[in-house]
Structures are given as C-alpha cells and as structure tokens.
C-alpha cells in the first residue's frame, strides 16, 4: 500500500471527511498505522480524535463519511461496530461499557457467550476467562462482580474482553484518565506486552508523558485536520514538541505569570474527622488540620482514594460522610456548616471533580447553569429576572472567554474546557472567599488548561483563597503557593512552593506521617 514505509501497514485512513450539519468535524484526515506499533493520537478536545475513531469502528457507518478505510490491505465498509469487531478492531471507550452487577466472567463474554446447543457453556467460559485474566495480569476470581473491583481493574477486564474477540487492532480512548499512577503504569506495561504479541494499539490520551513513554508514532490532529505524524524514536519527540503540534504554537510556559500577593490567614480547619457514610468505624478524614491565607493557592496532593475529595466535600456543608469532630474557623470566628446552603452563604465554593455526574445539569443551558448556585443574585422576591440572568451569563462568557455561539446553548454541547469555564463562572458568581477546586483540569486539553490556570490565579489575586486538589503533580507544583499532602485520610505534610518537587511530594503522599 504505502511504498515509503518499512514495516507493513495494518491500517490506512485516507482523506477522511466527516460532516455534521453546520460542522465539519473531520477534513481530509489521514492516518497510517503500522503492524505491531503503539500509535498515539493527540489533539485538543474537539479536534476530532474521537470522531475519527468512531468512523473507524463503524459507529458512523460507511456512507456517512467520505474517504477510504484500508485495513489489512482491503478497503472496508463497516456498517456497525459488530462489523468492525468481526474484522478484529475493538474500541474501548473512555466510559467503560461494563455492567456493574454482573461478574467479571459474565462481562467478558457478554454478547459473545460460548454456547453448546444454545445453552451457555459456563465451564468453557470459566476456563477461557481464567486464561484471559492471566494474560492481562489481573489476579481476580472470575466470579467477582464488576462493581467490587476498582476502575483500574475494570479497564483490564475491558482489555480481556477485547482479547477474547481476537483483537488485532485495539483502540483505547483516554484509557488512563480515571486511573491512579500505579494502575496507569500497569496498563501501559500491558499495552507494551500486547505489542510484543503482535497486537497493534491506537491510543488517544491527554497525558503526554504516557504517550512519550510507550508510543512508537504520534499523529497530531488539530481542528479536524491531521497535522503531522511524528516518529517518537527517530524524531526525538518530547512533550513540548507534541504540545507545539497540538496548539499550533509553542507554549513558552504551561502556566501564566503570577506573582502571589498573600495576606493573613482567614480560613482554618482543626481536628477534622469524618467517618465513611456507610462503614461506621472507617475514618476518611483523620484529625486533619490546615489553613488558607488570603490570595493564596493551596494545593492538595494525594493518591486516588487518599481522602482529598472526602475532605473537601465534608467541609462543604457535610455533603459527604458523617461528621465526627472538628472546627472550621473563618475570619477569626468558628462557623458551623451543616448544609451546602450554609457553606455557600459563608463564602465557600466547591467545583467537583466529576463534572458530568456532580457538577452540571446537562439539560440546562449556559445561562441557567451560571446562576444556579446564586439564584438570589438574579432574583427579587423569589422571581428570577431573566434579563439580569442573561446579562450575568454574558459577562462571564466574555471575561472567561467561553467558546459558544450564545449563552443559551446547552452545556452538554460544550467541550470539557468550556464546560469547566461555565462551572467556574457558576461559583465565581457566588462570590466565594474560599473556592475549592477538585481536579479542575481533568479531561481538559492543554490550551484550555492554560486559561483555567489564569482564571485561578486571577481569583487569588482578588484576595480569595483557592484550594486546588489534583492528581497531576506538575500542575500542583506550577500553580500552588503551598502544598499539603494526604495519605489514607491524614495530612502527612506541607511544603512551600520553593521546597516542593515531585519526589518529596510523592514520598509524603505514600508514607504515613512520621511525626505530628
């Protein structure tokens, strides 16, 4: 097929163009994947990566796009996902397609059950699932229900399911987005192992360090066009090089300039202990103590499940867990926050880590969302003033530079970065003194991240305290003035910006407090 390449090609997508009414999602995109490589696709949110993969896997059937898909030297015309799977192309979506109530084994064979005379042959299924689980390195009983294993292991089950379909080309959409470092590493190692066995992978990811680590080549997509394909080993590609391709310019710095102006301590938490909502004697926060100063950006580092979100949400009107003990002191006075309403009225704001499940009503439009936490601000005698509402939303759209045709657009239609801006606008409109941001840039592309950082810094410059919870250490290091570390519900240390680095943070995040 391609005369210039040395290794044989497994897949070539030629001049793929896909249009939606009014939008050209893909325009003449080319993609060339060689047999047995890990091929990364990079691009900002909305660049067209997922659309391209949906074209490939038959979600958008043949005829709904222009261009050719050449797979294993034949032009393919997939009518649906079943057709592409039959050809050995399996896609694993960002949101896992597993059924929580069913067991690992039942999930692996769902839709593909081994049968004898129409009756499921469970002995055969068990034998094969033990074999498959061994191949993905998952030491779990095949009868364990999916809901009882973590997201990292669920991801492995998805891969086992793909292997069962004798996959030749595995597509992973943001496979590590929800995983902690350990699980991510395990998954990446597994991909390299599969590569050794001749399985080709295409991986979409925002985590550039992972891409740099495991991929052989990278195709960069920007604004629905394929920009370039980089050979990782040959071209000496690093993260900055990828970013340059993705945003079409070089970002000198990943963080805007910011000179902190830190005032006096205004928010203090003492002896904060909270129990798990269901398990009575399990404490998710153990005597946590910390403080925030005006104009300060305070980072909270910790592994997934360390209790960062639990701490934030329990402070925010006890919206998580059962309160056991502790004091909140704001502006020198002790305050009691028993409901979210009270927390908001006392000047707290909390941006959740799970935007879609907890942060947004996806049925709403931008203007309704913007005023949702402070309806008082646009109403008189409990009647909403719609003109004022429109004006408020319009002001935030301009100042945060939210990309949308109008503020009457549904939030479901926005990209992750723009959704996050709307959520930020919602909390900025409550005029909080302390804003807690839980994973503020999860699932957001590089360009939008930079803008979000700018917003956070601006809030701090206005004299507000900002708490940033993040799994990405470079983000915390770049943004925070001070960083607390959490391990198993306890605060294990605090480092100033000057003394913090990835290494000593990681040490504190994984070890119990040495001395109180």
């Amino acid at each position: 097929m391609s005369e210039t390449t040395t290794a044989p090609t497994i897949l070539e997508m030629r001049s793929i163009t896909k249009e939606f009414p009014g939008v050209k999602a893909l325009s003449e995109v080319n993609l060339l994947v060689k047999v047995g490589e890990v091929h990364a696709i990079c691009g900002e949110n909305g660049a067209g990566k997922s659309t391209l993969m949906k074209v490939l896997s038959g979600v958008y059937p043949f005829g709904s796009y222009q261009g050719d898909i050449v797979y294993q030297n034949e032009v393919q015309q997939f009518r649906d996902i079943r057709a592409s799977e039959a050809a050995g192309i399996v896609i694993i979506h960002q949101e896992l397609a597993l059924i929580p109530e069913l067991s690992i084994m039942e999930n692996i064979f769902l839709g593909n059950e081994p049968t004898r005379f129409g009756v499921i042959n469970w002995a055969e299924a068990r034998r094969r699932s033990i074999d498959l689980l061994a191949r993905v390195g998952l030491a779990e009983d095949p009868d364990t229900p999916i809901k009882e294993i973590g997201v990292g292991k669920q991801q492995l089950v998805e891969i086992a399911k793909a292997l069962n379909k004798s996959v030749k080309l595995l597509i992973l959409d943001e496979p590590t987005a929800a995983l902690n470092e350990n699980d991510s590493q395990h998954l990446l190692d597994l991909l390299l192992g599969l590569k050794g066995k001749g399985i080709t992978s295409i991986m979409i990811s925002h985590k550039l360090n992972e891409i740099e680590q495991i991929s052989d080549s990278i195709t960069i997509i920007r604004d629905g066009k394929s920009i370039e394909t980089l050979d990782v080993k040959g071209d000496g590609v690093d993260e900055d090089r990828i970013i340059r391709g993705m945003v079409g310019r070089s970002l000198e710095s990943r963080f805007p300039d910011h000179t902190p102006a830190i005032g006096e301590t205004f928010f203090e938490v003492k002896d904060w202990t909270v129990a798990h909502p269901q398990v009575e004697d399990r404490m998710v926060c153990k005597g946590s103590e910390f403080f925030v100063r005006r104009g300060e950006i305070v980072g909270f580092a910790g592994l997934m499940g360390a209790g960062r979100t639990e701490l934030a949400r329990s402070l925010f009107g006890r919206s998580y867990g059962r309160y056991i003990s502790g004091h909140i002191i704001k502006d020198g006075k002790e305050i009691t926050l028993k409901t979210v309403r009270q927390a908001i009225d006392h000047g707290l704001g909390y941006v959740t880590e799970d935007r879609k499940a907890l942060g947004l009503n996806l049925l709403d439009d931008i203007k309704t969302t913007t005023v949702a936490a402070n309806l008082k601000g646009v109403s008189k005698h409990f009647v909403v003033n719609e003109d004022q509402e429109f004006q408020v939303a319009e002001d935030y759209r301009k100042s945060l530079r939210t990309k949308t045709p109008t503020v009457e657009e549904g939030v479901a239609k926005l990209s992750g970065g723009n959704q996050q801006k709307v959520v930020l606008a919602k909390w900025m409109f409550t005029d909080p003194d302390l804003l807690i941001l839980d994973e503020p840039t999860r699932g957001i592309d590089v360009g939008a991240k930079y803008e979000i950082y700018g917003i956070i810094q601006k809030l701090a410059a206005q004299g507000k305290g900002v708490i940033v919870i993040s799994s990405e250490l470079p983000e915390l290091l770049g943004l925070s003035d001070r960083i607390y570390t959490i391990f198993e519900g306890s605060i294990t240390g605090v480092l100033d910006k000057a003394e913090a680095d990835q290494e000593n943070l990681m040490k504190l995040m994984t070890a119990k407090r040495q001395a109180a």
């Binding site: 009414p21 997922s50 709904s64 499940a357 049925l363 949702a372 909403v384 003109d387 992750g416």
Partner: protein, 409 residues
C-alpha cells in the same frame, strides 16, 4: 416549513403538539360535519376535562422533579367524599368545604411527601400504596355510597360566567375575558421584545412575531366567540377560569421563580443541584404535596360537576394525567417538561376522546387510539433524541439533508 419553525420558536416538540392538536380539531370538524366546533361541544369538552388538566399541571412538576404520582385519582376521590360528607353532616358552607378540601389535600400531600422526601421511598411505591389507601378511605367514609353535594357547591364544576350588563347577544364577561387575554398577550410579547433589544440579544424578524401574534389572537378570538355564544345560561365555565388561573400561576412558578428552577435542577441532576445549595428533599416534598392539593381540587370540581361524590370517582385519572404530561413533551427521566406543554398534551387527548365519541366510536376503539397516540408522541421524542437534535423539520426533510448527530469530542 422554515417559516413555521420560526413562528413557533425553539421547542419543536411543543410546536409539533400544537400542530397535531390543530390538525385533530380540523379533522374532527370535517368528519363530524361541524359539530366539533359548536359552542355546546367546546363548552362541554372544557367542563369534562378541566379536572384532568388541573391534575396534569401538578403531575408535570412531579415528573420534572423525577418522580411520579399514581395516587391522584384516589386522592381526588377521598377529598371529594370527605368534603361532601362535611357539607352534608357537619353543615359546612360551600366555601368552607372548598377550604377544607384543599387542607385535606395538603395533609395527604404532606403524608406522601414525608415518605418520598424524608424516608426516601421511591414515589412510585409511595403513591401506589396511596392509590390503594385513599381509594379504601373513600369507600370507608362513604360506605361505598354516593353522597350528594349542595347546589351552590356545584358551581365550581358546573357553573358559568353570569350574564351582566347590556344584552349584546353575547356573554359580556366572556367577551371581556377574551379581550383582556388578547391584550395581555400582545403587550407581554412587545415588552419581551423590547427588553431583548435593550440587552443586545438577537430578536426574531418582525413578520415572524406579527404572524405568531395574529395566529394566537385569532385562535383566542374564535374561542371567545364560541364560549360567548353558547346556549342561554352557559358561557365560559367556572372550572375553566380556575384552570386558566392555575396555568398562569404554575407556568410562572415553573419558569420564573427560584423554586421552579430548583424543581428542574433536582430533576436534571440531583447531585449537582444539592452541591449547588438546592435542598432537594424540600423540593421533593413540595412537589408531592402540591400534587395532592391539586388532586383534591380536581376531585372537588368533579364532584361538583356530577352533583355527588361516589366510590368510583377518579378511577384511571392518574393515567390520563401522566399521558397528558408525556404527550406534552416531558421526559421520563426528569428535568424536562412544561406546564403549557402538558395542557396541550391533555387537550390532544381530550379532543381525541370527544371527537371519537361524536363519531360514535366505542370506548374500545377510543382506548386503542389513545394508546397509540401516547406511544407515537413519546416515540417521536425518543427518535429525535437518538438523532441528537429535536427537529421535526429534520424528520420531514430527512432525505434531503445529512442525518444530524451530536458532535463528538
């Protein structure tokens, strides 16, 4: 087609329903040889359906909040018999009967709201239990007999606007009401337009607004004419006035007030609403309570119209009300729906019922048609959702344009 779309604005689903309603009326008008749009028929259609439409107003709020209420028919019957007994045995005057009925409705609603909001039992179960419970109480109180209600009480269900002023050949109050409504609509539209221009928001072209106003006002004028020229002694029914007032009040509450916003927020994403400071439990409690109050009102209107409360009042009402809400564009999963849409949905069902009856179609076929209409309306909605964009235009021009799909990240 595009012009139509512009005139009726964003909510294509509701436009589709209004379109269907008009088409149905025209169809029956032709098929019945003009009986459908006679004053007598329109008045009786309103009288015979106002209680279902009142239930639909409460039901749409319950459904927007993500719940359902199966007990409304039984609650209506229970309140109806209790009020009838209070007036007969305790000598309550009619006005006190009405107040008593509303209070009873509130009490019943507080009971159901308690189980739904405070204890956290799904409304389906709570109101299924309520359906049995209050039906039983109705029969217990009334000893399974009918209890008549006094004449002046019958006014709320069977009364009409009185004749006053000079003899114009029309019912003067009905005329006045129609004219006030038309003026209010035109004034409101102009004011909204002015505010939008002041804000710098996009406004529709002038001819679009004018056409819409002419259509709406024309329909209103015609309705006014029909109601004002009824048989002597009949005119716009009192129950219709109660209904119109409720539509205005609840339409305003649902779209423009803080509590209304909270209902949509809780139905759309309960967790997100709670984390924005909305007290979801309070919202749940209030929508359930409100529903039972309206059920009590509907029960009283029905009793007033049929001059007595009986053991089988309100059987199957919950289904009519729920069907009206879903035909009117509400989503089963909550967060979506409008008061106006539910009224239109209820009218579609009412016109269908009435038209088929006029044609002499039996209740067997009437039920079959009603079932199919409900299914078709919701199927249309589901189809649109699967296509990403709700668009009746897209449906009609399907072969001429590419299938719309949600844009992927």
């Amino acid at each position: 087609m595009n012009a139509l779309k512009k005139i009726f604005g964003g909510d294509i689903r509701q436009f589709g329903m209004i379109f269907a309603l008009v088409a149905l009326i025209v169809f029956f008008q032709i098929m019945t040889g003009g009986i459908t749009l006679t004053p007598e028929n329109v008045i009786s259609l309103f009288n015979g359906n106002s209680y279902i439409l009142i239930l639909a107003i409460g039901m749409v709020l319950v459904i927007i909040a993500g719940h359902i209420d199966l007990s409304v028919g039984s609650v209506a019957a229970f309140v109806g018999i209790a009020v009838a007994l209070a007036m007969r045995d305790w000598g309550f005057p009619s006005w006190m009967g009405v107040v008593y009925g509303l209070l009873l409705g509130a009490l019943v609603g507080a009971w159901q709201g308690f189980w739904v909001a405070k204890v956290g039992i799904p409304a389906f179960i709570v109101t299924l239990a309520g359906m049995l419970l209050f039906r039983g109480l109705n029969q217990l109180l009334g000893k399974s007999n009918s209890v008549p209600v006094p004449g002046d009480f019958q006014n709320i269900g069977a009364g009409y606007l009185p004749e006053i002023g000079p003899d114009t050949g029309y019912n003067n109050l009905t005329l006045l009401l129609g004219i006030v409504a038309i003026v209010a609509i035109v004034w409101g539209e102009l004011r909204r337009r002015k505010a939008s221009i002041a804000l710098g928001a996009e406004v529709e072209e002038t001819w679009v607004m004018v056409t819409r106003l002419v259509l709406i006002c024309g329909a209103l004028l015609y309705a006014t004419y029909l109601f004002a020229t009824g048989r002597p002694g009949t005119s716009f029914p009192i129950s219709g006035i109660i209904l119109a007032a409720l539509v205005l009040v609840y339409g305003f509450i649902s779209s423009r007030t803080v509590i209304g916003r909270h209902v949509y927020a809780v139905g759309g994403n309960k967790h997100a609403a709670e984390l924005s400071g909305v007290q979801a439990k309070r919202v749940d409690f209030l929508v359930m309570m409100n529903m039972s109050i309206l059920a009590g009102l509907a029960g009283m209107i029905f009793v007033a119209r049929s001059t007595a409360s009986g053991p089988f009042d309100g059987v199957g009402w919950e289904l009519d009300a729920i069907a009206a809400v879903f035909i009117g564009g509400a989503a089963v999963s909550g967060g979506v729906g409008t008061v106006m849409g539910s009224i239109v949905g209820g009218l579609v069902m009412a016109v269908l019922n009435n038209g088929l009856q006029l044609l002499g179609v039996g209740s067997d076929w009437t039920q079959i048609f009603k079932g199919l209409v409900l299914l078709a309306a919701v199927a249309f909605d589901v189809y649109n959702k699967s296509q990403g964009k709700p668009s009746i235009i897209g449906l009609l021009l399907k072969n001429f344009q590419k299938t719309p799909e949600p844009q992927a990240a």
